[in-house]
Amino acid sequence: MRSDRILLSHGSGGTMMRELIEDVFIARFNDEALLRMDDAASLEVPAGRIALTTDTYVVTPRFFPGGDIGKLAVAGTVNDVATAGAVPMFLTVGFVLEEGLMVEELVRILDSMVAVAAEAGVRIVTGDTKVVERGHGDGIYINTAGVGVVREGLDLSSSHCRPGDAVLLSGTLGDHGIAVMSVREGLSFGTDILSDAAPLNHLVGAVLDAAPDARCFRDPTRGGLASCLNELAGASKVSITVDEGAVPVREQVRGACEMLGYDVFQVANEGKMVAIVPPEQAEAALAAMRASRYGEDAAIIGTVDDGHPGRVYVQTTFGARRIMDMLVGEQLPRIC
């Protein structure tokens, strides 16, 4: 790669694009399907149902404490496939690069993706890249699609939650949102909090082994735990009550939320999983989470009950009950 920056000609389909693909992408991803440089990857898949998901990542800043947009892209899509109870197998990656992006930054992002993919045990098998003019594209946007095979006989669904079920959370809330916020212009504050972005397919697999009748999994990304639980309560037409004291939150995340006036239940997470399991399998599911990487701080945080359908309540540490509402629009720091 001769240029140290991405140029428009790297997206034009000619020799410079080939140079970018070969010297940068394929050299990094190094997958046998990719190496064939075909327009489509031809792959063996086991028989059964497949789970298919897609997501696009536009986070700014693209590097933040604990991760980058590449790590998010792979972990996020792996996790979406995992929530279907599927073993993730293959990923596609599509890049929109802004003219002027430093190649060195692109390489760092690709290396992140390779590392997470290796940890998750997934292959990046096909990709695409386009270059847009300076002033568009925020540096880099990444689209990924992920496919996996659903475990035999499994039928997870957000509409399957029943009164009595336990609500499990795999770890501390708010880490990702606060980590990203801490490096935003106009808001910066010092913190050790790192983004929690991580692939959770092994964790989900372990929980399914221990609790085969689990109803569903969901990762509380944008909109945080509040969006996640409200969606589940709505889909299943049940109510959910969360015990505020049982929810793990790091001290610094608490401090940052207090300073900015944020509700930690609405802050984004990128390496956490919510699991709804029948009560008799809750302890086993919890133990499996805690024994998994990224699940050390897992806890049972609440129960599904038969209150007003679609409502999520918080039993506050103070002893009163209030509603856990969904985020509307973006969460903005406040002084009031």
Binding site: F189, G190, T191, D192, I193, E251, Q252, R254, G255, A256, E258, M259, G261, R334, I335, C336
Partner: protein, 82 residues
Amino acid sequence: MCLAIPAKVVVINEGDMAEVDIHGVTRTVSLSLTPDAEIGSWVLIHAGFSIQVVDEEFANESWELIKQIEWDDSDNPLEASA
């Protein structure tokens, strides 16, 4: 209009600027409204400034007092004396 939270002054720099700690999160704030703040002081911070020094001992005492408020049967509330 009152979101102000307690933070501990960790470092004092030039020009009334200081580093404060809120549950481990650090932020730069101005101490210009609280000239009495020192390293180790607890202050209330709002919009990048400290607005009050909070006396920790006093806060503890206030807490003890609250716990001692009683109601007496003759319909007159009693408050434990300081």
